[in-house]
Amino acid sequence: MAIDPAIIGSRTAEHTVVVERGRLRFFAHATGQADPVYCDPDAAKQAGHRDLPVPPTFLFCLDMERPNPGAFYRDLGIDIRTILHGGQAFTYHAMAYAGDRLDFATRVTDVYAKKGGALEFIVRTTDVTRDGEPIAELVTTTVVRQIAADPTTKEASS
């Protein structure tokens, strides 16, 4: 299946996420983060933060909190078991913290193929803002592999 380059410039519906302390603690646990700054609000405050900081890669996770995170691929006819994460870039403008309300705006910025179309690439750029103030820019490259999905097996994920 060839991904139509006409999707370049298309936008995903914007969404807003309130950063939760509990999720940040869970993420710290799941990534082996033992630094109390990332799980104890008092330690965070002693280190000069106003609450638990959002760690460097967690903005990517918050972006997946949008309703129907798999819909982008489903609408393109892509089985998410055939995708790989090809690259991820973050540019940081300001720290974000638990309790912040963050806005995510995503657009498709490139589509290309390699290996005669056996690998297709979708690049998306996401601007994260807080009350209009820039927090970060994310650039996400997804690789779509041409492996045959068995249509009789149901995807386990949304």
């Binding site: 799941a30 990534t31 630094d35 996770c61 991820q88 540019t91 940081y92 045959a148 068995d150 386990a156």
Partner: protein, 126 residues
């Protein structure tokens, strides 16, 4: 920070439990990371780690090294899959100082030498 300064971080062995926890904490529920049956149905022999889990370990390397607010940019390319039960090792090296920023090369490799991730970071000097 000085050119040539290197820091490392040895991640724990990435078990199926690690992947289940990371799936929940990250919100990335793609079955290729947690469901062997769903993998086999499309010809993938077993679950493999989320690339972003390795990027999170490298992020820990950075925040163990400098206060997070000094990280200006952080980007990676995922170059190979990390199989379940493997043990990635992260390294970061200062390659140049330019203006008021240090530029770092980043890498994650498996014990057999496979490089799973390469990247870079820009850190504001304190």
């Amino acid at each position: 920070m000085i050119v040539g300064e290197t820091h490392g971080l040895a991640a724990p062995r990435i078990t199926r439990s690690t992947l289940a926890l990371y799936a929940g904490a990250s919100g990335d529920h793609n079955p290729v990371h947690i469901d062997t049956d769903a993998c086999r149905a499309v010809g993938i022999p077993d679950v493999f780690a989320h690339g972003m889990l390795s990027m999170a370990y490298l992020g820990r390397l950075l925040t163990d090294w400098v206060p997070q607010e000094r990280i200006r940019a952080y980007d990676v390319r995922f170059t190979a899959i990390t199989p379940v039960n493997d043990t990635p090792v992260c390294t970061g090296t200062v390659t140049r100082i330019q203006g008021d920023c240090a530029h770092l090369d980043l890498k994650v490799a498996l014990p057999d030498g496979t490089v799973t991730l390469t990247g870079s970071a820009v850190i504001a000097l304190g």
